[in-house]
């Protein structure tokens, strides 16, 4: 089947999509955006988190056909051209990135948190990132990065 949707502001048409295919597969294999990662295929790891009409979801659990006519935003769409989003900068600065495979999903999820909650508390950060597994960092630096990005955003908003 054919699926038409918008990804990172660009209208996309994917052809020959199998009806049981996930949005994640379409993004990675058909649209050429492999930033969202496939690590469990069951919504347990969060590596494939993308925005679907502004709400973070696991792209592996969205049927491709369900994305018809909707707006998707992936890790590739967080930066403004060559200018990284503050959450991306904070991940690099804090050393929250190691192997980088969990990073794209974490970034989208953290981006959403900071957009919704201007100054998130630690429990709020932990709760927001509860479904994003990381096997390298032990999470500590990831939490630091979210705190830093949130603080900067709050500072900029004052």
């Amino acid at each position: 089947m054919r699926v038409n949707f918008t990804v990172n502001g660009v209208e996309q048409t994917a052809d020959d999509v199998w009806e049981g295919e996930s949005l994640l597969y379409v993004l990675r294999e058909r649209v050429g955006l492999p930033g969202s990662k496939n690590a469990c295929e069951q919504g347990e790891c969060g590596s494939c988190t993308v925005y679907l009409d502004g709400t973070p979801v696991c792209a592996c659990l969205v049927a491709a056909g369900q994305a018809e006519g909707r707006e998707v935003r992936t890790v590739e769409g967080l930066a403004d051209g060559e200018r990284l989003d503050p959450i991306q900068e904070a991940f690099v600065e804090c050393g929250a990135v190691q192997c980088g495979f969990c990073t794209p999903g974490l970034l989208v999820q953290a981006h959403d948190l900071i957009e919704r909650v201007p100054e998130p508390s630690d429990p709020e950060i932990r709760e927001a990132l509860a479904g994003n597994l990381c096997r390298c960092t032990g999470y500590e630096k990831i939490l630091d990065a979210v705190r830093l990005a949130a603080a900067r955003k709050a500072e900029a908003g004052r």
Binding site: G20, G43, C58, L61, G65, A130, G131, L133
Partner: protein, 292 residues
């Protein structure tokens, strides 16, 4: 495989009647896992995301809430947490925020897994499930009769789940769940409890400790009789313990990867005792609800 996209409830029912093998998909949190793991390939997927009414809820004339099958957990927490505190507590323990943004009670009911988190609070609160087929119209199925076996329900092949109906909490409600880590946990076992002060009754729901979610009737009757509803005297510790024992007695757990039967029985008695203790404390304080 076909991908069916009804845009109204009538179209959805018609599609399901035409293709009883079509698998309804809303949040996708169960259905897509089965597809990704290639466990089976249904003849069709029936996308319910475009049936707008399924993602709405309303107050009915009988005083109950009617909650569309495709209202995601995140909205149940945000919009109905005050009136359905037990279900909201359970919803908070479902997977991750990403899963709660998509996953629905309707999907939980459709999958009918004994580990589904919404079942215990639905049982405890006497919820009814509204299902419908194009051929036979609407049926209301009490939650206690909905689950018929491991991952099996009373839903007929040509029926779809439209909504669940449940009375807003008139007393404290609680939910407790035990797992091996601190988030992203499939229940080792779970327990839901609701106090119904107007009829001096207790509702319970047991998860992951029997082939189906089920109530602990003996425990409900025992505690309802022992509690001092009118005088509001504190809960006797012995009553709480006995309640826990009786709740565990209602279960029929097995050993599996997540836990042993013995541990599940122990954990159930602990959770039942704790939830009753918390709920009764709330009741004495005059509050309708409280969080664990």
């Amino acid at each position: 495989m076909e991908f069916l996209r009804p845009t109204s409830w009538g179209e959805a029912l018609a599609a399901k009647a035409d293709a009883p093998g079509a698998v309804p998909i809303a949040g996708g949190t169960d259905v897509m896992v089965e597809l990704n793991f290639d466990k089976h390939r249904p003849e069709a997927l029936l996308d319910l995301n475009r049936v707008g009414e399924l993602a709405t809820w309303s107050e009915e004339e009988d005083g109950r809430l009617r909650v569309g099958a495709a209202v995601p957990y995140a909205r149940i927490i945000g919009e109905l947490g005050g009136r359905l505190p037990g279900l909201a507590m359970a919803a908070r323990t479902v997977g991750s925020p990403q899963i709660r943004n998509r996953g629905t009670v309707g999907g939980n009911l459709g999958a009918a897994s004994p580990a589904g988190d919404s079942h215990p609070p639905l049982l405890a609160a006497d919820a009814e499930i509204e299902v419908e087929s194009a051929a036979r119209g609407t049926r209301m199925i009490p939650a206690g009769e909905f689950y018929t076996g491991v991952k099996r329900s009373a839903l007929a092949p040509d029926e779809l789940i439209r909504a669940f109906h449940v009375r807003p909490a008139e007393g404290p409600q609680q939910f407790s769940k035990i797992g091996t880590r601190n988030a992203m946990v499939i229940a080792v076992c779970s327990f839901g409890l609701a106090l119904h002060p107007s009829d001096q009754r207790i509702g319970t729901g047991i998860g992951s400790a029997a082939p189906t979610p089920r109530r602990a009737f003996e425990a409900e009757e025992y505690a309802a009789g022992e509690l001092d509803w009118a005088g509001r005297s504190p809960l006797d510790e012995r009553v709480a313990r006995r309640f826990g024992e009786l709740a565990a007695r209602a279960a029929a757990p097995i050993d599996d990867v997540r836990g042993t039967a013995e541990y599940r029985l122990h954990a159930l008695s602990v959770m039942a005792r704790r939830t009753l203790t918390w709920a009764w404390k709330d009741y004495l304080n005059g509050g309708a609800t409280a969080c664990a």
